[in-house]
């Protein structure tokens, strides 16, 4: 059934038991902390992503928001995959996720790179939902840039 490609167990798990949810202060007083608030104007979904970085390591990603299962699960996966990693690794994962979501279901996801993010392959077949999946990733990109961690270049065509 088509719907099961969209609502994979992994996505529903992240939605029902989100990882790293809730905005947090940085443990390290020297960390560079910045956040970004993104809104999907068509549906009103919102997410705030806060990044704490030490040099080029993102030591923590915390987030809060209101949205559908896809956007909320996506934030949870983002936290899972990107926390504690350096700018270069983050850029690769970020680019891989954006490529997967922009691929209209034609991109074979790299499980080693994306981890649970591969579960979103089915979402790419639903153009109306691609923005949901990307909402936290775009907010993260802005927050990371403000915290001094560049994630570019990534272009979104969805």
């Amino acid at each position: 059934m088509q719907l099961e490609q969209l609502y994979q167990e992994i996505i529903l798990d992240h939605y029902k038991r989100p990882q790293g949810r809730g905005l947090r202060d940085a443990d390290d007083p020297d960390a560079e902390v910045a956040e970004a608030h993104h809104v999907n104007p068509t549906c009103g979904d919102e997410v705030t992503v806060r990044v704490a970085a030490v040099d080029d390591i993102v030591v923590d990603i915390s987030y809060d928001g209101a949205g559908c299962s896809i956007s909320q699960a996506s934030a949870s996966v983002l936290y899972d995959r990107l926390s504690g990693r350096c700018a270069e690794e983050i850029a690769a994962v970020h680019a891989g996720f954006v490529e997967l979501m922009s691929g209209r279901g034609q991109v074979t996801p790299d499980e080693e790179l994306l981890g649970d993010g591969v579960a979103f392959a089915g979402v790419a077949r639903y153009p109306a939902r691609v923005k949901c999946a990307l909402l936290p990733w775009m907010a993260f990109k802005d927050a990371a840039a403000r915290a001094g961690v560049g994630v570019s270049p990534t272009e979104v065509e969805a």
Binding site: L3, T42, C43, G44, E46, S69
Partner: protein
């Protein structure tokens, strides 16, 4: 179900105007199609309605046989096109009981119609010789409500910014009705215009306007009613409504997109300065200045959506043929059925009136804490088309403390079987997300 005999001499069940829904459905080609392997269940008519073959034929037939520009050609095709376009205007005037055909201004949609009025205020406010009723400045007030569509909020916010006037609004009660308790304080001698939705596109509430109209008259303000969601669904009589302007859009009433209507009292339209300048709206033009045509031409600059207007005329014929009273009654029965059926779904919360009185066939709801996007996606996989999101009425979502709602809306072709499909689809949603 118990059968109750209605005593002789009382109105009988069959006295209610009715029509054959199956026969109506056969007029709409799209209702035969499948979606995701299921029969289409279209519950999004408040967003846009479907179009019967009778309208599609007129739309195509106009381009095929009568295509020409209007109001400027002496040739036969031009005359035919002009007659068809002006004929459509006459049909629409009759449909809403406008005292004069010249009170019907064709626009692109309701949004454009509201903007024409707002910009007429704006333009009048720049000219000392303009009609006082349209002149706005600091100290003057514009009154709207919390249940407006964005199209009846943003133009007034922008107008207030341009003129220094103040924007105020009626609140909404917990049960989704307009809160008129502050009417006397809200609508005062400072009020220049009250712009109010007739039927809410999100709560389904049909606003009773009599008290507000009375107050508007007392203080000498103007009243605009956004009838986008009422003209398609119930008989509307502008004389009876006693408004100064009403706006509505063709695509929600079996007509094509790209055509809408501003109806205004003839005397008021005549007092309004032009908004868009261009061809067709002038009386005479010299290099230094121009004078302007009388309404409705004054507000129809440029080549209008001719075929769309003609097809809207066909839509009005179609709706009149079925009967607006009968359509209204059909939707009332559907709404009562749907409110009962939705009440059986565990965890479902309806936003807006939960009784089929003073409301139309548009029902917004939440299913537990499942996000409307997810509700809509699962329903779509079953062929059930509902709208999810803020429905261009974000202040209503804020009022009820949710980022989004799921909305089912009905029309003359909707059946109780389709409401059953919605309810069983919602069970499927609960199975996935519970």
């Amino acid at each position: 179900m118990t059968t109750i005999a209605i005593p002789d001499g009382m109105p009988q069940y069959d006295d209610v105007p009715r029509f054959d829904v199956a026969a109506v459905r056969a007029d709409f080609p799209i209702l035969d199609r499948e979606v995701n392997g299921h029969r289409l269940v279209y519950l999004d008519s408040a967003n846009t309605s479907h179009k019967p073959r009778q309208v599609l034929d007129v739309l195509a037939g106009h381009y095929a046989m009568h295509n020409a520009n209007v109001s400027r050609s002496v040739h036969t095709l031009g005359t035919e096109a002009t007659e068809a376009y002006e004929g459509a205007r006459a049909k629409i005037a009759a449909f809403v009981n406008a005292p004069s055909v010249d009170e019907v201004v064709f626009t692109k949609n309701s949004t454009e119609a509201i903007n024409i009025v707002a910009y007429a205020f704006s333009n009048a406010s720049l000219r000392a010789d303009a009609d006082e009723r349209f002149r706005l400045g600091p100290g003057d007030e514009i009154v709207i409500s919390e249940m407006e569509h964005h199209s009846n909020i943003v133009p007034w916010q922008l107008l207030a910014e341009r003129t220094g006037a103040t924007l105020r609004w009626f609140p909404v009660t917990d049960s989704g009705r307009l809160d008129e308790s502050g009417l006397a304080d809200l609508v005062t001698e400072r009020t220049k215009i009250v712009a109010l939705v007739h039927t809410s596109n999100i709560l389904g509430t049909v606003n009773a306007t009599a008290r507000i109209t009375e107050r508007v008259r007392q203080v000498g303000a103007l009243l605009l009613l956004d009838c986008s969601q009422s003209v398609p669904h119930q008989p509307i009589d502008v004389v009876d409504l006693d408004a100064d302007f009403i706006v509505f859009t063709g695509h929600k009433m079996c007509g094509p997109t790209g055509i809408g209507v501003l109806w205004g009292r003839g005397e008021l339209l005549a007092a309004m300065p032009p908004v868009m300048g261009g061809g067709s709206m002038i009386e005479t033009v010299s290099m230094a200045r121009s004078t302007f045509a009388a309404p409705p031409a004054r507000f129809e600059a440029g080549t209008p959506p001719i075929a769309e207007a003609v097809a809207l005329g066909a839509a009005v014929d179609y709706l009149t043929g079925v009967g607006m009273r009968a359509i209204q009654w059909h939707e009332k029965e559907l709404t009562a059925y749907a409110l009962d059926a939705l009440a059986t779904v565990p965890g479902l919360r309806i936003f807006g009136p939960t009784v089929p009185v003073g409301r139309g066939g548009t029902i917004s709801f939440a299913l537990g804490d499942v996000h409307p996007h997810d509700v809509g996606q699962v329903l779509d996989s079953l062929g059930v088309q509902v709208r999810v999101g803020h429905h261009c009425a974000k202040p209503v979502c804020t009022r009820f403390g949710v980022p989004a709602m799921t909305r089912a809306s009905f029309y003359l072709y909707t059946t109780t079987e389709e409401i059953d499909a919605l309810v069983s689809g919602l069970e499927q949603v609960r199975r996935i997300f519970d």
